[in-house]
């Protein structure tokens, strides 16, 4: 920021300040803060419980007080998580999510460009079908998808999960990208067209760079969707070698029902990428999560 900018900013701040100081502590303010604090406890305490329990010993869990931090904290639960092969499930989840996101974003952007730039009845119909697709829940199609993936010989493979995930990720991503691509000024297309650029070149050198903010948000949204997806691995896989994290946690919990501390470590481990993303890029994560629902 320039010096001028900083100066004006501080002048503005100085103007605002006396106003702020005048703000009285009202009864409503206190009631509001109380309400906010109660929700802070409701939201935060179970999370704290998760973390505390994941550092407890099995013995400490059975005899200790669950609402207090562990008296003998241990890292052994996390060691056990890695021994149980969770790094492998982590990799599976990463492969499935990254592949899904890349395919969804690329396919949706290409189609969004065609929808915005072409006046063809077919294209219009395709777009309308996708809009209807927004309403169709995955659950309603899962039985035929299961049969289809079996017929393709893709049952119990990572690809078998990626394909339907891409299909169901497309409608929302497409809708958002169409809205974004439409805002690119016509003159930019025309000047590139005059230089003789083909459609592919325009998408690559004009549309993709200009749509980057939307692509990032859509990418984050779809990543979270596929990272946390449970139904596809549940229905479309059976062997451990291709399990993704959400299914792996459930199976692990089924085998270690009494070993709660280890299960809590597993739960935290499964959300690790999103927790890290929230710490280091919280702004983008929030924006990605709200994509398409609010401004």
């Amino acid at each position: 920021m320039t010096e001028m900018g900083t100066q004006t900013a501080s002048v503005q701040r100085a103007k605002v300040r006396p106003n702020k100081r005048k703000r009285k502590v009202t009864g409503y303010g206190i009631a509001f803060t109380t309400f906010g604090t109660i929700w802070l406890i409701i939201a935060g305490y179970p999370l704290l419980y998760m973390v505390m329990t994941s550092f407890r010993t099995q013995n400490g869990y059975l005899i200790g007080k669950p609402w207090l931090p562990p008296s003998h904290p241990t890292l052994s639960n996390y060691a056990q998580v890695l021994q149980a092969g969770f790094f492998h499930y982590f990799l599976n989840s990463a492969i499935v999510s990254v592949c899904s996101v890349v395919l969804i974003v690329v396919f949706a952007l290409l189609l969004a460009y065609v929808i915005v730039r072409s006046h063809s009845r077919t294209v219009r119909t395709v777009f309308n079908v996708f809009l209807v697709g927004l309403a169709l829940p995955i659950q309603a199609a899962i039985i035929p998808v299961y049969i289809l993936i079996n017929k393709f010989g893709l049952y119990d493979t990572l690809i078998g999960m990626i394909l339907p995930m891409v299909a169901f990720g497309l409608p929302l991503s497409l809708l958002i990208l169409v809205n974004f691509v439409r805002d690119i000024p016509n003159e930019l297309y025309e000047s590139m067209g005059l230089e003789g650029a083909t459609d592919f070149q325009i998408v690559l050198h004009l549309v993709a760079p200009l749509s980057m903010p939307a692509l990032v948000s859509v990418g984050i949204y779809e990543f979270i969707q596929s990272w946390n997806n449970f139904l596809f691995p549940l229905v479309l896989t059976q062997s451990q070698s291709v399990q993704t994290l959400p299914l792996a946690i459930v199976q692990f919990q089924g085998q270690h029902t009494i070993d709660v501390p280890v299960t809590m470590a597993v739960v935290l481990f499964s959300a690790l990428p999103l927790i890290l993303a929230y710490i280091f890029a919280g702004k983008y994560l929030r924006r990605g999560m709200l994509v398409g629902f609010g401004k």
Partner: protein, 297 residues
């Protein structure tokens, strides 16, 4: 010069998305209708039984029961989530430092998958070692052995509470951005007229949030209609069939009882209900505005 005509490059660009969506989403949806007329275990030869699965589903009462439970869950989720999210969203929209910090914590449950949340809460609610019961016992409320998820009268409410715990922050984020868009001049004018904060809330904030309220309502209803992951983990439809919502019922019919036809009946009901709700989306949230914009281009 590229006009608005289709050319081969554009057809190629359209193909992957259309193909993926057609093969793995659209066609399966239509095939589900066909499957609902089959007597089939998914492996051996299927026989066509017409409407048998449909009449059977409603005769034995299970489908109606599940439908009713689903509606009950939708209503519960709305009642638990919407008013609280609204107040929380207004709270988060404030500029005070502590509100911003609180908002950072509120968001965290959204980072976990529904199954992770479900597993955590089933431990918190565990009647023997769980957080809630031991806390209640420590402060002397009740005998501290309530089996929250094992009680058929409580299970659905508890499930709705867990869902609310995860999704209230999401809805309140929508409300927060809604509140931030309300012009400050409205409040200033109201202050000049001598309106207090409560009056300002009911006469300015609430009416101005009309569209946000509609959006969150539709999101909660469509989300709850097909809610599956968390229920699968927390109660698996039980105790008895007290939380056996449509999606749960469908999964069990198709993948546990291997009755593809009966499962598909429920799948079609889900799709129809989803479409019905989405017509409401088109009507209220302005997705249709976008289409009318397209007419102009």
């Amino acid at each position: 010069m590229l006009g608005s005509r289709m050319n081969w490059q554009r057809w190629v660009m359209m193909l992957p998305a259309a193909l993926f969506f057609g093969v793995f989403a659209l066609v399966p949806m239509l095939v589900a209708v066909y499957y609902s007329g089959l007597n089939w275990d998914g492996v051996s030869k299927a026989t066509w039984v017409g409407f048998y699965n449909w009449t059977h589903a409603f005769d034995d009462g299970q489908a109606l029961h599940s439908l009713w439970l689903t509606i009950e869950l939708m209503v519960l989720c709305w009642l638990l989530q919407n008013p609280l999210s609204l107040v929380l969203g207004v709270f988060m929209a404030g500029k005070q430092r502590h509100r911003v910090v609180y908002g950072v914590v509120y968001f965290i449950p959204l980072l976990f998958s529904a199954v992770a949340i479900g597993i955590t809460w089933s431990y918190i609610l565990d009647p023997e070692f769980g957080l809630i019961d031991t806390l209640l016992q420590a402060v002397g409320i009740g005998n501290g052995t309530e089996n929250w998820l094992g009680n058929p009268h409580l299970a659905m409410l508890v499930v709705a509470c867990i869902i609310a715990w995860q999704f209230i922050p999401f809805n309140s984020l929508l409300y927060q951005s809604g509140v931030k868009q309300i012009p400050a001049s409205l409040y200033e004018a109201a202050m000049l007229d001598g309106a207090g904060p409560l009056k300002a809330f009911f006469h300015i904030t609430l009416p101005q949030l009309k569209y946000t309220i509609i959006t969150t309502t539709v999101l909660i209803l469509t989300g709850t209609l097909t809610y599956f992951d968390l229920i699968y983990v927390v109660t698996n439809g039980g105790p008895g069939d007290s939380t056996e919502v449509l999606a749960m019922d469908m999964y069990k019919e198709a993948f546990t009882n291997l009755n593809i036809g009966a499962g598909s009946v429920i799948a079609v009901i889900l799709a129809a209900a989803g479409l019905l709700l989405s017509i409401l989306i088109l009507k209220f949230t302005g997705f249709n505005k976008m289409e009318s914009q397209m007419e102009g281009t």
